[in-house]
Symmetry: C2
Subunit: 218 residues, 2 copies
C-alpha cells in the first residue's frame, strides 16, 4: 500500500455541514473580503458559542448597514444624516475641498488632524479597463460645487487620489475641468515617508521629493 497524500487541510468545500442554518451562515460569511470557507466556519462556530443577544446585535448592526446608512448629499461621504458632520461643521474651512477616492481616505486624512477643509468622495477613479467612466463617479457634483459655489464658494481643490495610472488619469481630467473655473488646483505632496531610509525609497518618489523640496524649517 502506498499513498502520496496531498496533505491539504481537509477539503472544506466538500465538507458536509450538519445543519442548513450553519451552512447558510458559512456561505454568507464567506462573501466577506478575504474570508474563505474555513474562516467563515470558524466565525460561525464562534458565534454559536456566544450569548444570543451578542449574535443578534451583530446581525442587527449588519442589517443597518443595508437600511440605515445615508450618504452626505454634498460630499458623498457616509453619514447618519443627509449632511455629514464635516460638511455641517461651522469650524471647517468651507472654501477648500479635498478630493479623495473613497471613505477610507476621508478617515485616514481626518485621523492626521492636519486638515480643516471639506472633502469630496469620488467613489472610485476613472478606469476604462474596469468599465468605470466619468458618469460612474461623483464628478458632476464636484464640478457643480466649484462652479456654482454650492453650498459655499470654493477657492482651492486638493487632489488626493492614488498615484496609479487611473489616479493620474482622473487627476488630469479633473484639473482640465477645474482650471477654467478659476479655482486653485493642488495635489498632496509625495516624497520620502517620515522615518524611511533614502536608500530603500523607489526612484520616482525620491526624485520627486528632491524636485519638490521645501524650505528648511527648524
Amino acid at each position: 500500500m502506498h499513498f502520496r497524500s496531498q496533505k491539504n487541510k481537509s477539503n472544506i468545500s466538500a465538507m458536509q455541514l450538519p445543519s442548513s442554518t450553519l451552512s447558510q451562515a458559512v456561505e454568507a460569511l464567506s462573501t466577506l473580503p478575504g474570508v474563505g470557507k474555513r474562516s467563515a466556519l470558524r466565525f460561525a462556530l464562534h458565534l454559536l458559542k456566544q450569548p444570543a443577544n451578542e449574535v443578534l446585535q451583530l446581525s442587527e448592526s449588519i442589517r443597518k448597514l443595508a437600511t440605515d446608512i445615508h450618504y452626505c448629499h454634498i460630499c458623498h461621504s457616509i453619514s447618519d444624516e443627509d449632511t455629514c458632520p464635516i460638511c455641517a461643521s461651522p469650524k471647517r474651512v468651507q472654501s477648500i475641498i479635498c478630493v479623495v477616492e473613497n471613505i477610507q481616505d476621508v478617515m485616514a486624512i481626518e485621523n492626521t488632524q492636519q486638515y480643516r477643509g471639506l472633502y469630496h468622495v469620488l467613489g472610485g477613479v476613472i478606469s476604462p479597463i474596469d468599465g468605470i467612466g466619468i458618469r460612474d463617479l461623483n464628478i458632476e457634483s464636484l464640478l457643480k460645487r466649484v462652479q456654482q459655489g454650492y453650498p459655499s464658494p470654493v477657492e482651492e481643490v486638493i487632489l488626493a487620489l492614488p498615484t496609479t495610472m487611473e489616479g493620474d488619469t482622473t487627476n488630469f481630467y479633473l484639473n482640465r475641468q477645474l482650471q477654467p473655473m478659476g479655482v486653485k488646483v493642488t495635489t498632496i505632496a509625495r516624497g520620502i515617508a517620515i522615518g524611511d531610509n533614502l536608500e530603500y525609497a523607489d526612484e520616482i518618489t525620491l526624485g520627486r521629493s528632491i524636485v519638490h523640496r521645501v524650505p528648511f524649517a527648524e
Copy 2:
C-alpha cells in the same frame, strides 16, 4: 524639526468613524475571532458596496445562528432537528460511539468517510485552569448512553480527544467511568502523518508509532 515617527498604519481605534451605524457594525464585526478593528472596517465598507439584499441575507443568516440552531439531544452535535442526521440514520453503526471535543471534530472525521458509527460531542475537555469541570461537559449523557444503552446498546467507545494535558485528563476520567460498564474503550491511533518525514517528527509521536506498529498490508 526632527521626528522619529512610529510609522504605525494609523491608529484605527482612535479613528473617528463618520457614522454611528458604521461604527456599531465595526464594533460588532471586530468581536469575530481574529478580526481586528481594521479588518472589521474593511468588512463593513465592503458590505456598504454590496446590494442591500445580500447584506440582509448575511444579517439574517447570522440571526438564525442565535435563534434557529438546535443541538442533537443524543450526541449534542448541531442539527436542524432534535435528533441529528447521523444519530437518526439507520445506516450508521449504532453500537460504536466516537467521543470528540467539539463539532469541528465531528465534521473532520465525517470528511474522512472512514467512520460509520455515532458520535458524542463533549463540548470541551476537563481543564481546571479554565474552570471547566466534569459538570460543564456532556459527560453525564455519555455515561447514560453507555449504561442504559440509550437509544441503542453500546459496545465500543472511541476516545478521539486532543493529545493535550486536558485531553489526557479527560480520557483518563472517561476510561475510569466506562471500563466498569463492560464497554470496550479505544483511542484513535497516533503516529507519523502520511507523507511526513520521520526525521522531522517529534520523538513522542515517532516513539508511539513504533510501539503501536501494525501488520504490513500490501
